[in-house]
């Protein structure tokens, strides 16, 4: 399913937000939400983007969706750099890149039925101009995501969380996208429902040849669904590898700590397991630490780490880490 040219290439993406400085804003400053991020997605694959709150994973997704205009860098999608296009030129590309949000409740219009929610983009974008055919298409979309034709007449509040997320997925599918940015698509759902939605996303990927950028903080879920994984910390990618080598043999001390922090549902194993507990908290992206941004919390940091900014470099074939000690 993969071909030579990547579907999406993100090069040196930077997104800075200016804060404060206004009447009540306090001192002015620059939040370096995304600070030089590069990765690519091949057709039909899933890249997982993991990290803790404030690491820049959602902002990266929003830049790809062109919901934020990047400060600098390139976003090359289907051969065109989206950052160079104006609003009119962007329109056809917006259809091809869709998004699934964490909370389907706040991203679905409460005053529209499920049928109207799914039919509206089909009409607006002229995908299915005839009204009669739209109804057929809505039924097809519902079937693709495991809902019944009668769900078209329900309002979002009449559905369960899992069903609402299925509607969110159907709405993304309606646009016939090639890339879907999934931003924490299962983290608001109950455990027993999460697995249903993950299986659905995988089925749809196979059926329609979709490419996913899967943004999440749950490392077990990301391992299950991703082909490649990028770990972010404070606006930077600290490790990037294929799934197997990242999980079997992590190189960056932050990735190691993250993996160790995930409790495993097995009391016998947990009793034996060594727990690396990172000290301190994620620093403010307003004042990132000097050198390696992870060094104040790093269990193996040396004096050089406070001075030198580590580049993401290939340590093994296809496995990069931004650590001078890796």
């Amino acid at each position: 399913m993969t071909d030579e040219r990547p579907l999406l290439e993100v090069r040196d993406l930077v997104k800075h937000f200016h804060v404060g400085g206004g009447l009540f804003g306090g001192p002015a400053g620059v939040v370096r939400a995304v600070d030089g991020v590069s990765f690519s997605l091949r057709r039909g694959e899933t890249v997982g983007l993991v990290g803790e709150s404030g690491c820049g994973k959602t902002t990266t997704g929003r830049c790809i969706l062109q919901l934020e205009r990047p400060t600098s860098g390139e976003i090359v999608f289907e051969g065109r750099d989206l950052t160079k296009l104006d609003d009119v030129e962007l329109r056809p590309f917006r259809r091809r890149i869709q998004v699934i949000f964490q909370d389907p409740y706040s991203s679905l219009n409460p005053r529209m039925t499920v049928g109207q929610i799914l039919a509206e983009p089909l009409a607006v974008h002229g995908i299915v101009p005839e009204r009669a055919k739209r109804e057929t298409r809505v039924r097809e979309l519902l079937a693709h995501v495991g809902l019944l034709p009668q769900h078209a007449h329900r309002y979002p509040h009449q559905l369960s969380g899992g069903q609402r997320q299925r509607v969110g997925i159907a709405r993304a599918l309606a646009m016939e996208p090639s890339l879907i940015v999934c931003d924490e698509p299962v983290s608001a759902l109950d455990v027993s429902i999460q697995a249903q939605i993950i299986n659905l996303l995988e089925d749809l990927q196979r059926e329609f040849g979709l490419t996913y950028l899967f943004i999440a903080h749950d490392l077990s879920v990301v391992r299950h669904i991703s082909d490649h994984v990028a770990v972010m910390y404070l606006g930077k990618i600290v490790e990037l590898a294929d799934r197997k080598s990242l999980y079997d043999d992590p190189l960056h001390p932050y990735t190691k700590a993250l993996l160790a922090a995930v409790p495993i549902p097995d009391p016998e194993l947990e009793a034996r397991r060594e727990h690396i507990v990172l000290r301190g908290e994620v620093p403010s992206p307003l004042r990132p630490p000097s050198g390696c941004v992870f060094h104040p919390r790093c269990p193996i940091a040396i004096e050089r780490c406070a001075r030198e900014v580590p580049e993401l470099r290939e340590i093994r074939p296809g496995h990069g880490a931004a650590c001078i000690l890796a």
Binding site: E52, V191, S192, I198, H217, V262, I264, D266, E268
Partner: protein, 334 residues
């Protein structure tokens, strides 16, 4: 170990537009001195309402405890006057909530929120209370406690606020702490810090804990015993080790099989529990899990199973088909 808290046939109802919902339906469980017990389940299963019922904090008039007993050190908390109950809350039984920002008062300093309980419950003078408050902040790992006492909750990070909640809960040296999703709003590395802190403090101070969570990993790491809830009832209970290794209720088995695990080879496909959790206003006479259950038989629709012995000591499950679940190869999770 002696029993500290014993909940017997607790039933709590809510009046909703859809009808009366029995959020907790005749539930019995206990916590012994110094141990950590988990209440696990998904949203709406009644785990939080169980804890609120123990504290008698169920919001009236919509919510009402309609039956049962909550025996704490032998006294039925449901029979106490509101005045007597106030002396229990915070002093004998403390609570930690999921969202520290919504349970801390935004316009009072950290110091004031910590000293209030010390002055009321322990009769400390303001200087004594302040000194103890600084000690407590230091104990939960907040640096520079004396200066921090003068700050407000919004000046604390999420992890620090949760440390502050733990300090507040432990301030009067209660014998029991009810922790409702204490780390769910936190990042993975901060979650690990907070859980280690809670575990360490509960051991050192001999405090018993009830952890309420949906996270099966958190339970495995911290709980001695586990109660699994579904649709307002306990469907399985046992020691953490036995319940994870040999689950006997199809719901427990389904939960354990549906989560991807970092310690196991990646599976080609996840094994979800099909269907949706039931609407509590529409429960029938049978087992609430029956519509989603792979082990169901005819009797499950009409006849609700009670908890019965399912293995080692204290291991019980509410299922007619325990024997068949036990013989399924998948029921050995490891």
């Amino acid at each position: 170990m002696a029993t500290l808290l014993e909940v017997r046939n607790l039933t709590t109802e809510f009046v909703t537009s859809g009808g009366v919902v029995r959020a907790v339906d005749g539930v019995s469980w206990d916590v012994r001195e110094g141990e950590t017990v988990a209440l696990v389940g998904e949203s709406g299963c009644g785990k939080s309402v169980s804890a609120l019922s123990v504290m008698r904090l169920v919001a009236a008039p919509a919510g009402r405890i309609v039956g049962g007993q909550v025996l704490f050190k032998g006294r039925d908390l449901l029979a106490l006057s509101e005045e007597e109950m106030r002396r229990i809350r915070g002093r004998e039984i403390a609570m930690i909530f999921q969202e520290p920002m919504t349970s801390l008062n935004p316009v009072l300093t950290i110091g004031r929120q910590l000293t209030e309980g010390l002055e009321i419950h322990l009769g400390m003078t303001p200087p004594e209370a302040r000194a103890r408050a600084a000690l407590l902040l230091g104990m939960v790992g907040i640096p520079d406690p004396a200066r921090r006492l003068g700050q407000y909750p919004h000046q604390f990070s999420g992890g620090m606020r949760q440390r502050m909640m733990i300090a507040m809960a432990l301030a009067c040296e209660p014998s029991l702490v009810l922790a409702d999703e204490p780390t769910t709003a936190l990042d993975v590395t901060i979650q690990a810090q907070i859980l280690e802190l809670m575990k360490d403090l509960s051991r050192r101070l001999g405090v018993a804990m009830l952890i309420i969570t949906h996270n099966l990993g958190v339970v495995a790491r911290y709980a001695d015993r586990v109660n699994v809830m579904y649709a307002g009832r306990i469907v399985e209970r046992g020691s953490a080790r036995e319940l994870y290794a040999e689950p006997r209720h199809p719901y427990t088995l389904g939960l354990l099989k549906s989560v991807p695990r970092l310690d196991e080879p990646r599976r080609a496909r996840l094994d979800p529990i099909e269907g949706q959790p039931p609407d509590l206003t529409q429960l029938g006479a049978g087992c609430a899990f029956e519509p989603r259950c792979g082990f169901r038989v005819e009797r499950c629709t009409a006849d609700r199973p009670e908890l019965r012995p399912a293995g080692g000591e204290g291991h019980v499950a509410a299922c007619w088909e325990l024997g068949r679940v036990a013989r399924t190869p998948a029921a050995r999770v490891q």
